[in-house]
Chain length 209, copies 2
Amino acid sequence: MQLPKALAFDVFGTVVDWRTGIADQVTTFLSQHLPGTDPALFADEWRSLYPPAMEACRSGRRPFTLLDRLHFETLVQLVESKGVRAAQLDEGELLDLSYANIALMIAMNRFNGLVWDAILGAEFSRSYKPAPQAYLRSAEALCLEPRDLCLVASHHSDLAAARACGLQTAYVDRPMEYGGALAPDRDCEQAWEWQANDLMELARQLGAA
Amino acid sequence: MQLPKALAFDVFGTVVDWRTGIADQVTTFLSQHLPGTDPALFADEWRSLYPPAMEACRSGRRPFTLLDRLHFETLVQLVESKGVRAAQLDEGELLDLSYANIALMIAMNRFNGLVWDAILGAEFSRSYKPAPQAYLRSAEALCLEPRDLCLVASHHSDLAAARACGLQTAYVDRPMEYGGALAPDRDCEQAWEWQANDLMELARQLGAA
């Protein structure tokens, strides 16, 4: 196995615990507007609205739209489906919850002491995973052939799309990514080039720790 | 004076000494192919071909083209103007000299121990300074109003364009940026919001050191 020359990390879910973070974040909001709603289930429901929203951009049904905007729209959709009139809420409250782009990445990196060489997310490639451009433009930005770049992710669907573009793939297991439920993308599971229980184990496999 | 919420740094010339770096880098090449050529003057000449090449992209005469490609073309143009047939050189030699994008930035940051929150260069904004998009997309990526972002640069022309977009401006003096010659953009000089002899002095002015 040829070692990759660079690693591209999926961040939400793979590097940081998105689900618990969101659940913590929405607790106050829910106690005020939707008392009795389980914060972790609310996070799961919100997340389930995210792939169709990105798909609208990928398919060209709507132009490329920043993740913030998509998150905001799906949040409005979710609270309205639960009987809350979003128009009667303080917009700032909803915006605080749906903020997820380079600015958020920077704040999160600083808070967690994460240091990256570059942030090559959707705002950079102007396309959402699993569109090929999202993987290929990252390789291009690093002046690498796709086979020399390895995607590190805890989601089989993400890895499958990266493999289809010629990238190497590293699966990191995050058993609580879906709160312990079965992964919705388990039908995409394959034998990945690298497979580890955590990031340190992956680093050791790659000879980097 | 309202303190900026973020600083955007021009890198080549302002943070790193481009001229000396290139002069060192081309010395071997010149001794083989153009003996007697002064490396620092060669660097200046190469640089002088850079604004017109970017201008072709900005004006729309040609589509957005990566900096590497522009640097490569202007290098070919320069050596050919000196009587060297570029086609007879090893292309790798020319490519080694003209490599200047995110991949180079990462290598340079690692070599120099520079840590950035994000790299928001031309590849991100898909436009070259001093086009307004180059400044405005950086503010947008950081979720900031232009007035809350401050460009740090040693080039008056760059600062003037940033100010025209509503950014704050910080001038850092780099007296050897043109080898001691007068700055070609000195007619753009204005009273900038911040003005310092080096980055540490700027940090002190901003209360950050």
